[in-house]
Amino acid sequence: MATTSDVPNASFRLSMLIYDTRYRAITIQVVVLILFGLALAWLLNNTAQNLAVKGKQFDYTFLGSRAGYDITQALIPYTNDSSHFRALLVGLINTLVLALIGCILATFVGVTAGVLRLSKNWVVARLMTVYVEIFRNIPLLLWILFIFVPLTELTQPPSAFKLTEAMIAAGEEPVATMKLDHTVAFTNRGTYMPFPVLEHSVPAIPGVPVNATFLVIVLVLAGSFYANARIVMAARSVQEATGVRPTTWWKSLLVLFGPIAVLLAALGFHLNYPVPPTGFNFKGGFVVPHPFLALLVALTLYTGAFIAEIVRAGILAISRGQTEAAYALGLRPNRTMNLVILPQALRVIIPPLISQYLNLTKNTSLGIAVSYMDLRGTLGGVTLNQTGRELECMLLMMGIYLTISLIISTLMNFYNNSVRLKER
């Protein structure tokens, strides 16, 4: 008996394309798609024409040919005889290494500053506010240059640190001295720093390609973490059975740090300090190139300021009511923090934190200001200029950055979905 309106009316009128909710969306989308297609075709056509005018081909075979330039900071074997693709990899690794160390340090700085900014201590809270506001409101490029320019132009060559017998006899001082209790030397070639070394090494195990010392250290650490996990689990089961949680912190400390300390001592662990030169260069130590140091410090402090704000906002976002409710239940402040505040604050903090990691990763491309040989410096810099393949290099470079970003944000979405509060 019911007349149904679920079939389109027989009398289809053209005006329904605009006025009927069923067709309107389709109409708009078709129009948008056509326009997009036209624009895309226009761009591609222009590109083809421009390539033809310049007599260029679009291909990536140049990646296989000899790069012919040197890279000072190469973490995988590389010479100027290597291919452009190899140079790309070196650059990519430099980008990732800088980003990774930067993220770790920035998190440390940011969390510290964020928590201290909330502290009841007036002096420290103000100090942190000043730090955060200054770094957030001044361009990153300025911080990079502010560190890099004096580092390269105000420093002396390593030979200036030389202290000869003749100078001692004459009572002369060397031109430049090492800083921080004679452990670090800022020279115009880079910064010389102490470097951890092992006196002895574990003999190689036949048939295992991995460095045996490294393997042993990793195994000991893994064992410690496992033992600690067991201790915590045991404590929990005791708590569940009896209601009283046994004290575990000293056992944890012992298990976590004891074995590795013993192992390192047995292997003769010590720091290798840079020694002022008798000839032209420092002996020992580890040289950090200026571009890397300047970028790392600037990125850390700059991103740290943003992270501090995120941490602060995250902790503040947990309403007072939550703390009061926990106190009213009789939880002590540190348990309140661990069981109530932090789990909720992390939910708020982690998404923007990861987007700061993304920003830091993208900001490593500012290495251009100090000629850091990252992905942009190799693929988008020297390779691009030498081969003249702007289109190919730029597209590939953007593709790689995009891939890194998408990987990070996919991980973030997984995390977000897994911790989302279950709500109706």
Partner: protein, 262 residues
């Protein structure tokens, strides 16, 4: 039975005409594969005051939300004041400007003052001059007894006041039909009364009203028909006295015993 209705209701203007306000025929609706509304047939005449009740999840809110197409029905026909609701945008706009709706959570616009809330639709949809729209708005704010709040923001008002503003906001469009979607469920007891009072005086003026509500006192005092829904279907409808004293269906009896029996 319900202490919130204190005054005598003036029924002199409550006349049901023969003219049809809403005609629903064979209407069905699904959320995905879930059949929320099943073969709804109902006719609302001008001047009728209908109360729809039923357990939660019975589809009563969905039903009245279909009447101004906040929800789309997939099968059947809804004709509001002579206009059939189809996917045609013009028809939808026409129906919406003639049907007022009051929500459970008021849904006032928090960034606008009370007065602006009331004049927004008349100005932008009805193209009324601003001055006239404000006069109309003040008239209705007087009617719901909060003219002095006109320049405040919704966040500064109590729940009951907000709901009365929401009613005034709908009235400013001079609607022929008013829909109420659980207007008092989000309110404290002492505020329920002021909102119900407003609704009663609206009924006394002959407004066609469809109310989803659990206020059985209101239903007895004002409604000329009570509809009981369960599992997406109309289970029983009757005039209030008969409905409450002599329910026919077992489901209705069970429901009434649950909400009145305490």
């Amino acid at each position: 039975m319900n202490e919130v209705i204190e005054r005598a209701v003036d029924t002199s203007k409550m006349q049901v005409s023969d003219e049809v306000a809403v005609q629903i025929t064979g209407m069905n609706k699904w959320y995905g594969t879930f059949h929320v509304l099943r073969d709804i047939n109902m006719t609302v005449r001008k001047g009728e005051r209908i109360v729809i009740c039923g357990p939660s999840g019975s589809g009563k809110s969905t039903l009245i939300r279909c009447i101004n197409r906040l929800e789309e029905h997939q099968k059947g026909q809804i004709i509001v004041d002579g206009t059939e609701l189809t996917s045609d945008v013009k028809n939808i706009d026409k129906v919406r400007s003639e049907v007022g709706m009051v929500f459970q959570h008021f849904n006032l616009f928090p960034h606008l003052t009370i007065l602006e809330n009331c004049t927004l639709a008349p100005i932008w949809v009805r193209k009324t001059p601003k001055k006239e729209a404000e006069e109309v708005a003040m008239h209705f704010l007087h009617k719901v007894k909060i003219p002095e709040q006109a320049l405040k923001f919704p966040g500064q008002l109590s729940g009951g006041q907000q709901q009365r503003v929401a009613i005034a906001r709908s009235l400013c469009m001079k609607p022929r039909i008013m829909l109420f979607d659980e207007p008092t469920s989000a309110l404290d007891p002492e505020m329920i009364k002021e909102v119900l009072d407003t609704m009663i005086s609206l009924a006394e003026e002959g407004m066609t009203m469809l109310c989803v509500t659990h206020e059985m006192g209101f239903a007895q005092a004002v409604a000329n028909r009570v509809i009981f829904m369960d599992q997406g279907q109309i289970v029983e409808q009757n005039e209030p006295r008969e409905f409450f004293t002599n329910p026919k269906s077992d489901r209705t009896k069970l429901f009434l015993s649950q909400i009145l029996g305490h």
